[in-house]
Symmetry: C2
Subunit: 640 residues, 2 copies
């Protein structure tokens, strides 16, 4: 067996393998893992979310019973839930017609469009509740953030249906925003306290080809953190004291410095992610390597010092975000679902500018862990906060006052297909994720179909069949996950040892119709240790198998979980249980636990308890909190 060894990551952007994603409308997913979740999101989550929004009075001002100035309820950002729902529903319609869903979509669009003002302004809160406060508090009031999500919804809706009845009003709104903000005399030199509109404007540019939207995105990114600081000016203008900003520093919204000078992930984690997404988008559209470099530095900082083993990010509830290096508490981990989703968005974008498996590894890690934990198997309850330990009192909820995470999950699941394949500038096909299904790809004007068979993430055996109308020469670039210690490749049963570039095995050949590629990844369960500076995890290890991080739950382990001590070789066995939690591989092993048999009534004594063997069972972290409530631990005590 030959092990595929990755070459070291290159350092020249010019030499990067660049790609565009294969759109989810060209990708079918039919595996046992994701397809049921996508179906659930479509059939359960989307209608339920609409109901929740109706119940909360999103579409009915009278029912909302809003009091003027009664901030933060209703929240200024409520309309972004409608927009993200519209985006998710549009993705669903793009691959599966559904007249009932489309009717809801049209109702929601009609409601939103009805809010548009003669000058093009289009916002729910600042039209209905506080019309005199338009643009008065970009720092805190999410006005441009809401515009961003509406733009994303409009782009998705247009792509899905070809209809312009949301896109056109949104373009008018974006045009109006373009007159308000900028560096010309009479314009406001502002930008949003919550990044989002920047990446949305790039999407709008891509669908309309109108450069002014790209330029507006560029303006927002470039203006961020310049001095004199806009948020200071704005705060003083409304008679307040910038020194009293409740988050103390503009690091909270990443406007403490111009974006290229930022070297640490800081502040609100979702804000940070949406910012770096836009930076990569602009780097791509403007061929601006300096923006990509800044993102690479931030990526390195995040992944080497500030990320949970689940791909969760942002440990603190105080700022919903980052704190200090190596500060990764488990019980109080915030690790907002939306932040992990943002991490997927960002790494997917980085991957397009640099086909480096590190980005795909991280995208996959977040997907299978920090993102997926955000939803229950039935798609009807959600975690906003994803701790890595629980005393049994943290549970998924059907809805939130700030309900950003459920629709964010929905839009990700409904467009999951786009994360699987990429097409390079030279017509090679990249396979980032192993998810059974198929893709129709126009690889250099040749229609190519890739059929993928896999029982991933439980099994490392992946079969790819290439279907071409006539033999064609192109490269097939398969990601070799970083967690796999051994991987072998065969074409039509013949083992091959292709070059591995930045973690992608490159198979260049003249493909015949029906050629079969077999990728065998070694998936073993093993312990993972954290850097010693992560004090929270000293003397502890996590369990991982393939991309899936595991946890121990009280439902399987009938003793206080911190009484389990796992040896460095706990003899881990992987067992697939089709009846458990939608079908999961559980890990079983033997730990030690203190033996209280030898203790008298003494509460304290001068000799420690002896230990006895204790079998344990671990389940995938994403599946926790779906049985009887109880303790949960990702990081388990070890002897090391």
């Amino acid at each position: 067996m030959t092990t595929l060894i990755s070459s070291s990551s290159g350092d020249k952007i010019a030499g990067n393998v660049k790609s565009t994603p294969v759109d989810f409308t060209s990708v079918k997913i039919n595996d046992n893992f994701w397809q049921p979740r996508i179906d659930t999101a479509r059939q359960k989550t989307l209608p339920e979310m609409y109901t929740q929004m109706e119940k909360a009075g999103y579409f009915n001002p009278a029912q909302r019973n809003w009091e003027k100035g009664a901030d933060p309820v209703p929240y200024v950002f409520w309309e972004s839930d409608i927009s993200k729902w519209l985006e998710a529903a549009s993705y669903s319609l793009a691959t599966q017609p559904d007249p009932a869903l489309e009717a809801l979509v049209d109702r929601a669009i009609a409601f939103m469009v009805s809010l548009q003002q003669p000058d093009g302004y289009l916002n729910l809160y600042f039209t209905e509740v506080e019309p005199d406060k338009r643009w008065a508090n970009l720092l805190e009031w999410h006005e441009l953030y809401c515009a961003g999500h509406l733009i994303e919804a409009a782009v998705a809706h247009f792509n899905a249906t070809g209809k312009r009845h949301l896109l056109d009003p949104v373009c008018r709104y974006a045009d109006y925003i373009g007159t308000v903000f900028g560096r010309e005399p009479g314009q406001m030199r502002g930008y949003c306290g919550h990044e989002e509109i920047e990446l949305a404007l790039v999407k709008l540019y891509r669908v309309t080809a109108e450069k002014r939207y790209l330029r507006l995105a560029e303006y927002f990114i470039e203006e961020r953190g310049q001095t004199p600081h806009y948020f200071d000016i704005e705060t003083i203008a409304r008679g307040a004291d910038p020194a009293k900003f409740k988050h103390e520093t503009y690091e909270y919204n990443q406007s403490h410095l111009p974006v290229r000078e930022q070297t640490e992930v800081l502040g609100h984690a979702v804000r940070q992610m949406y910012l770096v997404c836009a930076m990569v988008d602009l780097a791509k559209e403007l061929q601006d390597d300096s923006l990509l470099r800044a993102c690479e530095n931030l990526w390195k900082h995040l992944t080497s010092k500030r990320m949970y083993v689940t791909g969760g990010i942002g440990p603190s509830a105080d700022n919903e975000g980052f704190t200090s290096d190596y500060d990764l508490p488990n019980l109080t981990a915030y690790a907002e679902t939306c932040a992990a989703i943002g991490l997927v968005f960002w790494n997917h974008r980085l991957l397009q500018l640099d086909a480096d498996s590190r980005y795909a590894d991280l995208m996959e890690l977040a997907l299978f862990n920090g993102v997926l934990s955000g939803t229950s198997l039935d798609g009807l309850s959600f975690f906003y906060v994803n701790p890595l330990a629980s005393q049994g009192n943290h549970h998924r909820q059907p809805w939130f006052n700030c309900a950003c995470c459920p629709p964010n999950l929905a839009r990700l699941f409904m467009s999951l297909g786009q994360y699987i394949y990429g097409l390079t500038e030279t017509g090679d096909i990249l396979v980032h994720l192993y998810i059974q299904g198929s893709a129709e790809i126009q690889a250099g004007n040749r229609p190519v179909t890739i059929r993928q068979q896999a029982n991933y993430p439980w099994d490392g055996q992946i079969e790819l069949e290439v279907a071409v109308e006539e033999p064609a020469e192109f490269g097939l670039r398969l990601r070799i996950p970083g967690w796999s210690k051994n991987a072998t490749l065969a074409v039509n049963g013949q083992e091959i040892s292709p070059v591995v570039e930045k973690g992608y095995a490159v198979i260049n050949r003249r493909w015949e119709n029906g050629d079969k590629v077999t990728l065998s990844l070694e998936i073993t369960a093993h312990l993972v240790y954290a850097h010693p500076a992560v004090t929270e995890n000293t003397g502890r290890a996590a369990l991982q198998r393939g991309p899936v991080v595991y946890c121990l739950e009280a439902a399987d382990n009938k003793l206080p979980l911190d009484q389990l001590v796992i040896p460095s070789n706990p003899g881990l066995q992987s067992e697939f249980d089709s009846d458990l939690l939608g079908g999961v591989v559980v890990l079983k092993g033997t730990a030690a636990t203190p033996d209280s048999a030898g203790w008298s009534d003494d509460l304290y004594r001068v000799t420690p308890a002896s230990r006895k063997p204790q079998p344990f069972t671990a389940i995938p972290y994403y599946a926790w909190d779906q049985r009887e409530p109880g303790e949960m631990r990702v990081w388990v005590r070890t002897q090391d």
Copy 2:
């Protein structure tokens, strides 16, 4: 060297060695440990507390700016601070005349007495703020609790000064209370939601010899927890729902069952302690073994399942009290200073009915740790809450809105002398605590002086000199602390091996004037482990030396404290540092810590970090938080 071995604890109350404490007015303390603290309490704490009470408007209704019904500010129990201060100040006056202090005492007494109503009622809050609410809410409003503290103050003041100007009004009040509460027709069958008056009434009986006060105490104790439940009746009477009691169950105030049926320490910890104090007092006065038996069961439950290694009790802030067996969280430990003081009161009472060193051991443990941590060295700031771990954000404060702990500490320190010696029914002298000084004891009409020389708790060498006017035969019973693995005794340099009864070495002899007893206790620093069921402490150990529990503080150990792993034999060295924290023995040893030298930029990897040796320093727990703020841990990680 002969080791003194204790006989097993007897099981017959009739055979118990019973004693009365030697009053603190007959005991002089002149050691290096307690005397400075007592002087500080006298010179700093007492005047400062009076100032704090004045500042808070305790003595000045106008300044208080009370709004009718503005519960809980001012608190219904504020007057108990005045009473405890009066008690402490009276103890001070009893041993050291101080006209300035006496003037303050007289002012405070005049203020309190001025509140007395024609019928004898005497309460601050329900006279000044809500006079129409007298006796309306015994469950929550501390009215009889306040009466109890006022009675204790009056007894102390009378004993100290011989003056009756507080005692007489208080007797009138107690008499009035006796008319209100009881089982006669027209009387209320109530008792207080916060025990205290019961033990106070026993004190009042002891000083006045009026049996009616003892009977009233007995009534309150016997009525507690009877059905129909008074607190139900009372709650319904004021139109409320007993099911909505905020603490859910009457376990909170130990009225869930009649007192003899209670087998677990439960609810509010201070309430629990004051209850069991009164139960022992009544057991003694009424020769009621059943009350003592109940207390013994509660003692066993507390010490085997619900007590911190520091003698702190009551882990939860929610009920300021007990939770469940083995639930002893460190960081969030409540362990109220007053509860540890209550533990001292209780064990001192138990000791009087049963000279068993277990009670003295516990009294000493609480004194040196959970109690003493409650005050700073300068006597001007206090812990209400005594956690066993800190992230550096828990600090002593000069005063509290609910300021029960500072005056409770003061009254304990000012009367500390009474905890050292006891006189048995047969004229033997018990030595419970080793504190340098002297005691004048009337042992069977013979005046005996005991002069104690010791550098305790730092050194285990204790010299006792017996001074008698003429040779006298009696037993000297010296406590052999449970923590001492080896103890030897000599009289006039001659080693002896006396019988040890329940942890007390009994030296029966005809004492000549000037006889010298030398007790040598082995004091070694060692690790202490908690019962395996204390999940919080699995994989951890505490450090103890003699009666002193140690902790690690960031000020001495420049790394995250949870990164230290102490081996089972850490080579502990004891070093006295006279300049540190008033003079303490510090412990030094070598632990291991993860070595990050070998780590790359990876945040996670599949092999654990190697370890390197790391010296550490521990200081007495009671002295923590008096240098730069930082982490603190009592329970340190171990390899076991």
